[in-house]
């Protein structure tokens, strides 16, 4: 009898040891953890380095309201970010996303800044089947290869400038355009779409040039620009150094176009140009409104200590945060597959506007015109407001 009992105990212990880990009672999660990398150093720090604070302030605001309701657990769960510095390099982003993929408490990934770093990060999301809401990434290369585990928030780069053309069409006064583009996938994509739009609407592109990112001497381009005499000069560059260098040299050359458009205009660009920046038209991922989302966005900006104009991409972040929150609420679970399904199929409103994902994985967020007036960024949209508020130089 004793021997039988011993054998039984031994078999029982072995069974527990083998299948025990699968039988442990799953505890309800205490929080919803979102993993991300941000360029807290390196060349993109100046554009997105403050977004760690922005994310934490957003989480703080949501947590003050109790967190995000997850039906499966019948309660609200607080949100927490786990953020690493990718130093603006894809290899670092890949390394940190791989590290986070081993942490089962991370339910969600948020993408890094730029398409080429996101390209590295999305492969990790796809490999480990972890949902990723991308942020500042909308180049075709990302969406050409199928990957179920990532969705974007932005419209394709080619459509980014589309809201500018109607202003010039309705307002009149300009006919010819010149484009100066920094040689990156994103910048070239955005300008390609804009030039096509211009031609479709009867405008003429009289000079178009693509220059490598480290360009410091713009004089040869400006000589050609002066010959072409465009009414509007458009600069599309991810690097503020490129934009500042070009505009300072255009000022030296005494060329005064009727309109200057800067695709990625930031506070640092207007600070470096001083009064010359007045009436520069730009694009931002925000326009004034009165929804609860607008109020929340402005509140987290206030807490973070900067404005939407100073960091244009902050609007994209807010859309991505909101989509994550809505996807979890709609899915009612932290199950990764169900969340990803929801992200693909969810049709919702953010800041009063439609938010959805296209079959390729692009989002619905575009950029809206803004202008530097009195040294500050002013939102100029919808169209009637834009035509009224917009000033030529």
């Amino acid at each position: 009898m004793k021997r039988k009992m011993s054998v039984f105990c031994l078999v029982f212990l072995m069974a527990v040891a083998i299948i025990g880990p699968d039988l442990t009672w799953a505890e309800d999660p205490k929080e919803i953890k979102i993993g991300a990398t941000i360029a807290l150093s390196g060349r993109f720090k100046g554009i997105v380095g403050t977004f760690k604070t922005l994310g934490n302030e957003w989480a703080g605001l949501i947590n003050e309201r109790g967190g995000i309701y997850v039906k499966e657990y019948g309660k609200k769960l607080p949100i927490k970010f786990e953020i690493y510095d990718d130093a603006s390099k894809p290899e670092n982003a890949r390394k940190y996303y791989e590290k986070m993929a081993t942490d089962p408490s991370i339910s969600f990934f948020m993408g890094p800044f730029s398409s080429f770093i996101s390209n590295a990060a999305t492969t990790v999301a796809g490999k480990h089947k972890i949902p990723m809401q991308m942020v500042c990434a909308n180049d075709a290369v990302l969406f050409e290869k199928p990957n179920y585990w990532r969705v974007g928030v932005l419209v394709p780069a080619e459509d980014e400038w589309e809201r500018l053309v109607p202003i010039y069409k309705k307002k009149g006064g300009v006919k010819t355009f010149a484009t100066i583009t920094m040689d990156t996938l994103h910048n070239k994509g955005a300008i390609k779409g804009f030039e096509e739009d211009l031609k479709k609407n009867g405008f003429e592109v009289v000079y178009s040039v693509v220059a490598p990112p480290p360009t410091k001497n713009f004089a040869p381009m400006i000589i050609k620009l002066r010959k072409a005499k465009p009414d509007v000069v458009c600069i599309e560059a991810l690097s503020p150094a490129f934009t500042i260098g070009f505009l300072k040299q255009m000022r030296e050359a005494g060329y005064k176009p009727k309109e200057i458009i800067v695709g990625h205009v930031t506070k640092h660009v207007i600070d470096a140009l001083g009064p010359y920046a007045e009436n520069i038209t730009g694009l931002a991922y925000y326009y004034d409104g009165d929804t609860q989302d607008h109020k929340d966005f402005l509140e987290i900006l206030r807490r973070s200590g900067f404005t939407w104009g100073e960091y244009m991409e902050s609007g994209i972040r807010f859309w991505a945060y909101t989509r994550i929150k809505q996807a979890i609420e709609k899915a009612g679970t932290l199950d990764r597959k169900k969340i990803m399904d929801t992200l693909w199929n969810m049709k919702t409103k953010i800041m009063g506007l439609d938010s959805f994902v296209t079959p390729e994985g692009y989002g619905a967020l575009g950029a809206w015109p803004c202008q530097v007036q009195g040294g500050k960024f002013v939102s100029i949209w919808p169209l009637d407001k834009a035509v009224k508020l917009h000033n030529y130089r």
Partner: protein
Amino acid sequence: MEIAIQLVIAGILQGGLYALAAFGLSLIFGVSNVLNLAHGEFLMLGGLFCFLIFSATGLNPFLIGLMILPFAFFLGYIFDRFLMRPLAGKKEHIRLMSSILVTLGAALCIGDVTSFLAGAEEKGVDYSMPSFFWGDLYISYLRLLAMVMIAGLTVGIHYYLKKTYTGRALRATTQNIRGAMLVGVDTSRIRSVTFGIGSMLASIAGVFYVVLLSISPDMGLTVTIKYLCIIVLGGLGSLIGSLVGGVILGLTESIVSYYNPHWGQTAAFLILVLILLIRPKGLFGK
């Protein structure tokens, strides 16, 4: 014809800016046989201090540039005193390798610390001077000022090296360090003074940089590599060489970029390779 003249003017003026920055690097190499990879960081710091003081006071950036010169000298002096001097007694090839590693490490540290303390954003000073226009031609007075300054500095430093005791001691150290020591020259101090002067020159270039373009904490190594090419092209240690090297680079970039901006830098570096194949010591190297 007008376009050709304008391209030449733009190229020479751009070259002047390059030469101004390469000047200090050449001087330091000439005296200490050290390739100072942190030179671009000194340039960046010059521009940064100019930006910070300009933002706080609104003073003329060139006046600020003059005000920060003693500080730049001090910075260069202590850089040599604490980082380079311990390497001075090593064998030449070890010293050269160690100095490259030490200055590279220092460059990365300065960049990171600056990014942490002053932010990583691009910084530019809003200051402009009217340009001179003649028909379709224009000359930027700001760039002309940089050109005049580099010409003045070349002459000034030439006389400083010829006529003053420190200058002669500096040349003696360059030519024969043991000989200089035998006749009582404090070669360690001379090296530190050279680093101080090099740092001052970088700081002046930084002021022009922040006024004409913009600066950021991570720009240092990129510009240092460009200036290294200029001093190699002109002849390591030759001051006139760095001036000519800068102008050749600026001219080539300007003319080729007119036809295709992507080939501007490539063509400039191809010329560097060609000149080095013909004259391995550079245009004015001995």
